[in-house]
C-alpha cells in the first residue's frame, strides 16, 4: 500500500502523515510546504546548468603556485597528477575520487534517473533507489578541492615564503558541486516507483 493509494502524504520536513491536500498546501504541524511529487523539470534545469559549468571547472586552472624560481598553474587533473608524483598516491586517489569521479558519477546518475523516471520505466526500481541514496550521500565530498585551495592560499600567504592563488576554476567548480547538490535534493525518488506501480495496476 502506498501513501498515494491511501490518500495521504508525508511532510518531508517533520514526517507528519496527513490527508493529501490540494496544491500549495502547508503542513499543519511545521508549516513547511507539502508537495505530493516534486516536478522533474527543476532537477533537469539544475543538471543542465551543472553540465555547462563542468567544462570550465575542469579546463581552467584551479590553483597557481609561485615559489621562486618555480611557477606552476594546475587544473584539477594536473593537481592530482602532481600529488601522485610528489606527495602520496593514496591522497591522489582520494582527491581524484572526490573531484572527478563523484561529480561525474553524480551527473550521469541523475541524468539516468531523470530519463527513467520521465519514461515511467519499471526497470529495477530498488537498484535505482539505491543509486539515488548513494549520490545523495556522497555529493558534498566534491567540495574537497575548493577547501584545499583556499587553505593553501591562506596558509602560504601567512607564511610569506611563496605565493598560492586560487585559479579561475574555483568558482565554476564550487558552483558545479552546489548545483549537483541542489539537483539531487530536487529529484523526487518516489517518481522511480510510480512507473512500477502503473505496470502493477494494469
Amino acid at each position: 500500500m502506498t501513501a498515494g493509494e491511501l490518500g495521504v502524504v508525508k511532510c518531508e520536513t517533520c514526517n507528519l502523515v496527513m490527508r493529501a491536500p490540494g496544491d500549495d498546501a502547508e503542513c499543519s504541524r511545521c508549516g513547511e510546504r507539502v508537495v505530493v511529487r516534486k516536478p522533474l523539470s527543476r532537477c533537469v534545469a539544475l543538471v543542465i546548468a551543472a553540465v555547462a559549468l563542468y567544462f570550465p571547472a575542469n579546463v581552467l586552472p584551479m590553483m597557481k603556485t609561485e615559489q621562486f624560481p618555480l611557477h606552476r598553474s594546475d587544473t584539477i587533473l594536473s593537481g592530482i597528477k602532481f600529488l601522485w608524483r610528489e606527495g602520496s598516491w593514496e591522497l591522489a586517489v582520494l582527491v581524484f575520487t572526490a573531484s572527478i569521479l563523484v561529480p561525474l558519477t553524480k551527473l550521469l546518475a541523475l541524468g539516468f534517473l531523470l530519463i527513467t523516471s520521465w519514461r515511467r520505466s519499471a526497470w529495477r526500481p530498488r537498484a535505482r533507489t539505491n543509486l539515488y541514496r548513494v549520490i545523495e550521500a556522497i555529493g558534498h565530498w566534491s567540495m574537497l578541492d575548493v577547501f584545499v585551495v583556499s587553505l593553501l592560499t591562506a596558509v602560504v600567504q601567512l607564511g610569506r615564503f611563496a605565493n598560492v592563488e586560487p585559479g579561475a576554476a574555483v568558482l565554476p567548480f564550487a558552483s558545479v558541486v552546489v548545483l549537483t547538490m541542489l539537483a539531487s535534493a530536487s529529484f523526487d525518488p518516489r517518481t522511480i516507483w510510480d512507473g512500477v506501480r502503473e505496470v502493477q495496476h494494469e
Binding site: 502506498t2 520536513t13 606527495g87 577547501f147 583556499s150 611563496a162 522511480i192
Partner: protein, 199 residues
Amino acid sequence: MSALAVCTYCDTVHRRKDLPGRSSARCVTCDAPLYHANTEPAAMLAVTLTALAALIVANAFPLISLTSAGSATHATLWRAIVASYDQQAPFVAAGLAITLIFAPVIELGLLLWVLVPLVLRTRPPGFRLAMRTMSALRPWRLVEVFLLGVIIAIVKLTGLATAVLGWGAFGLAVMAFAMASLGSFDQAVLWSRFDEVSR
C-alpha cells in the same frame, strides 16, 4: 495517523512498531531507512554541547602551524577566510564563512534553543521555525569534508615548509564526529516531545 510511517523514497505506508534499543526500521519495498528507535532529547543535548565546545576549539586554535626559515605561522579558520578574501577570492571566503562558521553556529544554536526547554519539558518559543531552518541547513554540513581538506593541504605543503596539524584541527575532528552523530538521531523525537509538552 501518527501510527503510520511513509517511506521518503518509495511512498510505501508502514504501521509503526516500537523498536528495541538503537535499532532502526527499514522500508519493506526499497530497503531505505524508515525511522529509528526512540531516543531521549537529553542524549541529543549532550552531543550538541560537545559539538559546540569542539566548534569553539576549532575556531580559537590554529588548524595548521607552519615553520619555514625559523619563522612560525599559525593558520586559524578565521585567518584562512580573511586571507582568501584578500587574495581576490571573495566568493571562496564567503563560502568558507557560511559553511564552516555560520551554518554550524546557527544549526547548533537552534538545536540548543529547542533542546533545553524540551528536556525541561516546557515549550520552546519559535519551535516550528527553528525546526524548518535546521532541516534546510542539514544538507550543507561540510565540516568533515573540510577536515579532510586540512589533511591534504598539509601533505601538499610538505614540499614548501614544515606543516603540522594544530589543536584547531582536533576540534574540527570532534565537531565532525559530533555533527555526524546528531544526523543519526531521529528528528521525530523532538516533534513528539513538542506535541507532548504542547498539550
